[in-house]
Symmetry: C2
Subunit: 466 residues, 2 copies
């Protein structure tokens, strides 16, 4: 391992590999929207043939040695050079803000402790050294900071490094699917494996994040089993319908799901700002007669199709706010929930982020100018037609002991009407887990099982259903 000590206080001459200070301002603001950030949308056909597993970047980095470090004339920028000929620039203010010494950073809490009430953004280093693969700085207030080369390289402001980091940490490439793809993308997991194997748990979560749906089988036939699954992920998301809700025919209910009638395609709780992320339905008793089939459609797939084939319809669906409403009572708790958002919500790249759709929860109040009403109904009808188009929608009758798990802000679900008999009362239990919690678990498990939190999609082909 080579180490080179340099101390440069003169004007720096930057090499051609130094990134441009005028780098284009390519911000992706999906994170500013009301949903999980960083989704990348891909169609299932695009990921079926991929190359071999890429060599992890960490291994490559171990070969790299810090060869020099220089500051620019006013001390506001530090440039490091490596044995591979790369140069990386770091603003002094960022370096001081991220000093890793025990006074400035608490490693136990993984928290910055620099007090910003007294922080001087004009602070400059007086001494800049490259020593034993560390950048060492002495600041003009006497404070000293050391930075490991690998730590710096992982935080490089070059476009490639930033893109790689984003891919690793917001890795939710979502792959859309139609009916023809359904058998390929639907995986079934064993209940006990979910509970006992971290690898299975991770694979299951990644599949829900990617395709929006997965099944669990061999679930014990008790009402409290979803809680065990949710606890493996993190914890249940409570809503106005409780932590677990019983889906069976309940006379006098204030919710259409609690009847035996046909249940039109919908997302759950569109009338919340914080819509539940992952929806789980555990089948305890299925109807022995006809009906009771579940239906699901990937709204992302439908949205992409409309965007491609009927851009005007897509535009109307993404720009017309709709009132979603739920007024009622549940176990003595009265609610009047209301939220205003379009049927399709785009991220700021114009890509599908979320769907809200429910005839039963769409308010009769429609607070838009009159001239937008008929165009919206036309667009809504076109969207609905695609939702029920056999090319896009699938029906299946959930079996007892199965749990249907799906992305509630992406997939629409419905149910065919059925008829209970005295000896056969259809009975499902429902519960939710939020994406914040599921993504956290994915990152923790990736780190634990793979040593990094890179997406499985960057190296593996699409999973086949079992």
């Amino acid at each position: 391992m080579q180490s080179v000590r340099t101390l440069v206080l003169a004007t720096a001459k930057f090499g051609s590999k130094v990134q441009s200070l005028k780098a284009s301002r390519q911000l992706r603001f999906s994170s500013t929207f009301s949903s999980t950030s960083g989704f990348r949308a891909v169609h299932s056909s695009e990921v079926k043939h991929q190359g071999p597993v890429a060599k992890p970047k960490d291994e490559e980095k171990q070969q790299v040695v810090l060869v020099n470090a220089i500051r620019d004339i006013d001390g506001s920028m530090i440039t490091i050079g490596t044995s591979t000929g790369e140069q990386h620039q770091y603003p002094s203010v960022w370096l001081r803000d991220n000093c890793q010494c025990p006074k400035c950073f608490n490693t136990t809490m993984q928290s910055r402790t620099v007090d910003w009430k007294y922080f001087d953004i004009n602070i400059k280093p007086t001494h800049v050294m490259a020593e034993e693969n560390q950048l060492k700085l002495v600041w003009n207030d006497g404070h000293e900071s050391d930075y490991d080369l690998n730590w710096l390289l992982e935080r490089s402001f070059t476009e490639n490094v930033r893109k790689e980091w984003m891919k690793q940490h917001y890795p939710m490439t979502r792959i859309s699917w139609g009916t023809v793809d359904f058998n390929k993308i639907l995986k079934k997991y064993d209940f006990n494996d979910i509970l006992n194997s971290d690898a299975t748990l991770l694979d299951w979560l990644e599949n829900i994040a990617t395709y929006g749906i997965a099944l669990i089988d061999n679930t014990p036939p008790q009402e409290d089993q979803l809680r065990r699954v949710a606890d493996r992920v993190g914890f249940i998301r409570r809503t106005q319908y409780g932590e677990e809700y019983m889906v069976k025919h309940q006379p006098g209910t204030s919710n259409l799901a609690y009847t035996s009638g046909n249940l039109q395609m919908h997302t759950d709780l569109p009338y919340y700002d914080y819509k539940p992320g992952i929806n789980m339905l555990h089948c305890l008793v299925q109807t022995e007669g006809t009906g009771g089939e579940n239906q699901v459609t990937d709204a992302m797939h439908v949205a992409e199709k409309l965007k491609r084939e009927k851009p005007e319809v897509y535009k109307v669906l993404t720009e017309t706010p709709v009132e979603w409403c739920d007024i009622g009572q549940e176990s003595g708790y009265s609610f009047h929930s209301l939220y205003r958002t379009p049927v399709i919500l785009n991220d700021s790249n114009g890509d599908f982020l979320r769907a809200d759709y429910s005839q039963q929860q769409r308010d009769s109040h429609f607070s838009v100018p009159l001239d937008q009403v008929i165009p919206w109904y036309e667009a809504h009808a076109a969207f609905t037609e695609e939702l029920y188009n056999p090319e896009n929608t699938v029906y299946f009758k959930l079996k007892e002991r199965e749990i249907l798990v799906f992305d509630n802000i992406r997939l629409l679900h419905g149910r065919k009407g059925y008829e209970d008999k005295p000896s056969n009362t259809r009975h499902l239990v429902g519960s939710y887990v939020d994406w914040d919690v599921a993504y956290s678990r994915i990152r923790v498990l990736r780190k634990k099982l793979r040593g990094h939190i890179r997406s499985h999609l960057s190296s593996t082909p699409v999973q086949k259903c079992t």
Copy 2:
């Protein structure tokens, strides 16, 4: 009460009061952002002198009589005329979609039951009648629909009616405040009143929604009392730190709040997409020595000031995404939470919607192009300076039995360091309730106590502190 029956199948001649079909497309898309929708920002100085209580619109409407109803030549639009000379237009497709008959609408569930799989958006009425203050339609498939005049008027597509409805249902006018206003806007409520009086509960919730802060006093000194308050609103919002978290010095903790050190100004859980809405801190034991004071700043007030005085700084703060991160363990639960959003998030009107700020949870990864780094640090320093500016920030030492309640996506809070003694261990309990749940409760209580869900701010002056 006069009733006039008309049957008009010829071309309609619309009066001058008919709203323009070319109404301007004034959409406010705050609802598409990652926060509660429909906020309107006002400064406290703007609402101190208001007029008397306005006459409720419902009373006025009782005087109005339906005098005629006509359809246009192709049957796509119905116009009704009232005894006050007003005319209101309703698209036929909207009327059919919102038929209130038992086949199309379930009043128990307050849900549309029209099956959209078979819905014909080109359906037209063949007969249009105004009878006994009802619009009566016969459709070309033979279906019949009746609509009460008041029901129709409440759903008019005219700009005034839509604005009034929005004001009533998304009524969260938020009033910003600085230090000089603090004593005027801070109200203190009695714990038992919150628990036993719906009027107090509503007043308290409206004050938190409006000013972002309120105190509760006389709370019993047990760790489970926040749950009683949360249950009055709806239910607790669970996070990775549990449903209730203990804020006291805990050696080896992974969270800076659980130390006795100085706690810089911050919002809680910026690393969640779904950030907790209302933050409650119950003081069980306060330190008897120096320190331990809480500090709060209204980030909306600071944001408005920066927008006015330093628009470039404001722009950078709203456009530069920042990584917020929390990696750790809590009661055996491992998490790796991560979210990317600017320090100030605007709604699509360019007004303040939400703040995310935390030195301790801001990641050292800063995934923006190099040329954005220094401008962001400059903006962040300007924001921080205003947060600690004595004109904007207030300190107060929470007393035992008090609960500090504040809007976690609007107010920043901090704490001065303190020192525990063997006989005096500072001890607070924290818990959250989401805005979805709080707003639902506000609507339910307004309806119950006032018969409507209009904002108290439209008719009453600013509350004085007690």
